[in-house]
Amino acid sequence: MTSAAFIEIRNLSKAYGSFRALNDVGLDVGRAEFLSILGPSGSGKTTLLMALAGFVRPDRGQISVDGRDLVRLPANKRGIGVVFQNYALFPHMNVVANVMFPLRVRGIGRAEASERARKALDIVDLASMAERDIATLSGGQKQRVALARAVVFEPRLMLMDEPLSALDKNLREQMQYEIRKLHDRLGLTTVYVTHDQREALTMSDRIAVMRDGVIRQLGTPASLYHRPTSRFVAEFLGEANILELDAVENFAAPARDAAGPGRKLMIRAERLSLSDASGHDNVSLDGVLTRSVFQGDSWLISVDLANGGAVSARIAAAEAANFNLEALTEGAPLKLHVRRDALIAVTDA
């Protein structure tokens, strides 16, 4: 994505006293793309989103949307839909009045505004609740109202700040699907902030992983998960074993080519297996079992390696049954296998 980007962020910086919330951030987002900003708290992800929305004034840098520079434009002139973590609905208005608000603000008559608001509520399956009080809604319903309110005035850009973090797990997964569906259906460009890596992996076209006010890595969910460039990204996105480069004999190209000083070897826990599948270029690691924990759909085992270092391996239930893992006791010798292309060199930070 070069000049065709829908959102272009350049050299964006923001400091609060001595704390640098955003440090020279650059980011392009394509038209109709679903991009997640993922990071721990304090990484700057919310500051970046709030700068896009116009609630935070950056110290320096450009933000342009669809070729229009809007870094100095106040929030109410940007025409961007925003969905907040705590829904931020107007508690003194009922459901349909909330959704009508952006239309009424734009001078649209009551009748038309009401009709359009009801259509938006229909999209989020809340048409029957138009006259309800906000206080009588469940968390999931509130977030649907917030979604309807944010799309009813047809913004091209939608910003979401951890919109699902207040919901329970089952509802969250359902809403992830529905938000993505809404994004696709309306042809929106969405920037979605979350600290939940699974949510980011599930929903996004691309993910930007942030830490300390800097984007550490940007890419598709699969590329980020399978080929992290840093220990931080590897550990933030999943279960990662970090080993010295010489922990694996003949750890060679292509991974070694990328290796340099201060580099480590990363292996995802679920890529380690007990069986040596034929037909692949596999590496085997000898060790002894130090711990095994049953976790329902899988086992998590800890193994001390003969070459030094320790790894955790996630063994799927079927494989665990084949190897009779339940019968193994601490200290039992084991052989773990991993495909050579699952050995990743990462920086140690």
């Binding site: 106040p74 002139k77 931020a88 107007f90 349909v96 009045a97």
Partner: protein, 301 residues
């Protein structure tokens, strides 16, 4: 593994219930001193006041005193004045206090605490001292009049004291902090993201204020207004000093009846009427709020 048997277990629920009762009684004991004080210092004198207002010298009971008060213009006028002063004080507090509370709620924490200090500062001085200080400012040759004459804005001193105006200035001065605090609390309680949401949806600052902030702060404004009104109804010192005898409130009449006329039945009856007025205000407030709530829902933009 088996579960422990449920049947045949001994029942200790009665003992547990007794423990809970005892704990509750002990807890309510903490409130006992205050309850006693309120009973002795308020309920008993009020009962005595009510008795004096209806008792004849021969020990029979009648409403003579009330009928006398209601047919005497001096008294009916002071009831009217009391409500006028109280209403006007509420109005000036709303007009001056609401913007102040808004500013206080929207500035940073340090500036907000300075503003809070400014609001609370009058409480550090005795009411009488503050009232006399105001009369120094407002009197015929006072600072305000001298200044206005010096800059040539007026040629004659303005009547700023010993009238309705002076009373309202003094009352507002006393009541403003009591109004600002609940309004500030109500505005501060509004979720910051709600205000951000209004902006992201396209609302200007003014529209956000009108359609979102003020409706959400309405409870606080209402509470502050009722508080100021009720306290103003019985206020004595400020109208007495700054009104210069020309703003006869119910409280001034009570004082006259007690210390000048020694008419205890009339003083008591006025006291009862004042109490009833306060009760009436609360009743109206309650009914008003209930009907507003029933109307609520589709707020208009």
């Amino acid at each position: 593994m088996t579960l422990p048997a449920a049947a045949g277990a001994f029942d200790n629920s009665a003992a547990l219930r007794r423990d809970r009762k005892l704990a509750q009684i002990g807890f309510f004991g903490l409130a006992l001193p205050a309850v006693l004080l309120v009973t002795i210092a308020i309920v008993v004198p009020l009962a005595a006041m009510f008795w004096i207002s209806i008792a004849r010298p021969d020990g029979t009971v009648s409403l003579d005193t009330y009928l006398r008060i209601l047919s005497t213009p001096v008294y009916t006028r002071s009831v009217l004045t009391t409500f006028q002063v109280s209403g006007m004080t509420v109005l000036t507090c709303v007009l001056l206090g609401t913007p102040f509370a808004l500013v206080m709620a929207s500035v940073g924490r340090r500036l907000a605490s300075i503003l809070l200090l400014v609001v609370m500062l009058p409480f550090w001085t005795a009411l009488l001292v503050r009232t006399y200080a105001l009369s120094v400012l407002l009197q015929r040759n006072g600072l305000v009049n001298s200044f206005l004459i010096d800059i040539g804005l007026v040629s004659e001193p303005l009547p700023l004291i010993n009238n309705f105006f002076g009373t309202i200035v003094g009352m507002t001065h006393v009541m403003l902090p009591l109004f600002i605090l609940p309004v500030y609390a109500a505005i501060k309680q509004i979720d910051h993201n709600i205000i951000r949401a209004a902006a992201s949806l396209g609302a200007s600052k003014f529209l956000t204020l009108r359609a979102v902030i003020l409706p959400l702060a309405a409870n606080g404004i209402f509470a502050g207004a009722v508080l100021v009104f009720v306290l103003s109804l019985g206020f004595y010192v400020t109208p007495a000093i700054l009104g210069g005898g020309r703003v006869p409130m119910i409280s001034t009449r009570i004082e006259q009846n007690v210390s000048v006329l020694s008419d205890w039945p009339a003083a008591s009856a006025l006291g009862v009427l004042l109490l009833l007025s306060v009760g009436l205000v609360f009743l109206v407030t309650f009914l008003l709020r209930r009907s507003i709530k029933a109307l609520g829902g589709a707020a208009n933009v």
